[in-house]
Amino acid sequence: MEIFQIVIIGIIVMIILTILRETSPEIAVVLSLTTGIIIFLIMIPKLSSVIEVLNILAKKSGIDNVYFTTTLKIIGIAYITEFGSQLCIDANEKSLASKIELAGKIMIIFLSIPIIIALMETIVSIMP
């Protein structure tokens, strides 16, 4: 099971980070970034198979492909924004973290504009 691998990696890195955090915080930040990348890279095969199944289900149910792709993009933006902002919070840069989060929210709203417009058009066409 990969979960044991990931938990053990996390524990080892936690021990190393407690040593490094006091003496050289700049390398501790890079180490935690690397660990985050490695954990995500371990999870990629499972994640891609899950998304493959979701894609097949969306095609079978006849939903417009644009909506599924937009949802996927929003999930991706949310993940990468969270990754960056948590890294900034770890390095005691809270203001930069909140700016990254603001940019992520704006990007999500920008991507969801077509869906909002489609929803509004549906509502308008239903109204007498």
Binding site: T23, I37, I38, F40
Partner: protein, 65 residues
């Protein structure tokens, strides 16, 4: 995925810290700072490739082009 790079970074961090302390105690603050900077640059060069890999993977999985 090999996790050797974690131990490499930890070792670089510990070595840089030790060198930093030695240089500061022998009264060479400037060289201590240069050692810290060199350590950061080396670690960043090692990690840069992985960051690019991560971003490419996220782009392909979530179809963010």
């Amino acid at each position: 995925m090999n996790i050797d790079i974690i131990f490499k970074i930890a070792a670089i961090g510990i070595i840089v810290t030790v060198l930093n302390q030695v240089l500061i105690h022998s009264g060479r603050e400037e060289q201590a700072m240069m050692v810290t900077l060199a350590g950061i640059v080396v670690v960043l060069m090692m990690v840069m490739n992985m960051i690019s890999n991560l971003f490419n993977a996220i782009k392909t999985i979530f179809q963010l082009y």
